[in-house]
Symmetry: C2
Subunit: 223 residues, 2 copies
Amino acid sequence: MSTLAQGKADLERASTAQKVADMLRERVLDGELAPGLRLSEEAIGGALGVSRNTLREAFRLLTRDRLLVHEHSRGVFVRRPTGDDVRDLYAARRVIECGALRLWDTVTEAQREAVRAPVRQAVARAEKNDWTKAGQANIQFHRGIVRLAGSTRLSDESDRLFAELMLAFRVAQEINDFYQTYVPWNRRIVELLNNGQVSEAVDQLNEYFDAAEEDLVNRLDAQ
Amino acid sequence: MSTLAQGKADLERASTAQKVADMLRERVLDGELAPGLRLSEEAIGGALGVSRNTLREAFRLLTRDRLLVHEHSRGVFVRRPTGDDVRDLYAARRVIECGALRLWDTVTEAQREAVRAPVRQAVARAEKNDWTKAGQANIQFHRGIVRLAGSTRLSDESDRLFAELMLAFRVAQEINDFYQTYVPWNRRIVELLNNGQVSEAVDQLNEYFDAAEEDLVNRLDAQ
DNA sequence: GATCGTTGGATTGTTGAACGATTCTACGAT
DNA sequence: ATCGTAGAATCGTTCAACAATCCAACGATC
């Protein structure tokens, strides 16, 4: 059965536009393509060896994910998140993640473990000063929370929100030291959950959002 | 100021692909293009007088909105929502709308009125047996709830969820008589809110989702 | 009679070129 | 220094072409 699923994954081969979009997404998220940069159709298409039409399809996919912004007759640009964007993102996260976390007592043990495990990993990575991996584990923690809701649509949209947020982190130059503050916070949330104090855990998550949002907005507006 | 806003709206002229997508979206939502139908690039492009490339752009937009599904080398089809789709949609709605409704005491009066007004309208329309308008007002009610969260990203995504849900309603042939049952329910929710019983209103909303989901899933699986 | 290749036609995936429309840039006039 | 204008660069859209893929019909085999 797992081999069949594997085979199906192979069957669903990506289109050229999809592959180009995946490559560009990486470049945007690791900062190689800086926020605000304009992506010329001719230049990028030439460099990647794809036609303009195919490249435009890839641009559209990334625009859907809010990593690029499209301006009519001007081209596409790497999104440069503003303070307002961050506020909007956290308003959405508050509703989604706090709402999902409230379902803690109704979900399967596997779903709960998908929330706990990333925190253990983040703690371990943080002790080794590997903040890149710690940051990835932190995202897995929040992805796990969203998945408590049991909706693939909600999970997919949240992944887009997370990706957009990563852009904001980059602009705020907050990639490394940010998690140093908040890893302990996540740990406390999991402790409360294991204690059966779901409501208190939700409160902590809300406070975490308050602090993270304010920190990020301040750094963005300072620029 | 309003004239300036008007001028700006004119400036943001829609691209051809956007206009084509809007037209197709209407056709899909009012059932002219039935769920499951395959949309031939050549046939539709010829009928609308746009090139294949432009039409494919429009298809991408509607695929993002989940009204169409794309199958590699096979074409695009009008989505035919399944019971699982509906369960997924309601799992997302539960988290989003209940989470947003919990913010009732923290939002502006204008935001609260955007929840109450559509219910009054739905009641009035229902008394005149105008179920189409009553249904539209019902959607405005739920849109108003989502907007309590204050996130445009969340509101936009919810609009897509609603559109997809309308497709499911159509497949279930539940366009007219559905709201007859649930308009009074919405009314009760607003009464509770006006009474300051936010928590009870959330419970009612949750029960509404339970009932609506089960009803819709049953009708879909029966086919 | 049912299952399995094969073949040909239809549709999609991708490319390249073309041209009008729009934006940007640089230069010169006031 | 500001404004307007001409020219270059880029985008929006269309068209034609060909390879890759899918599909339906037809026989071949057991």
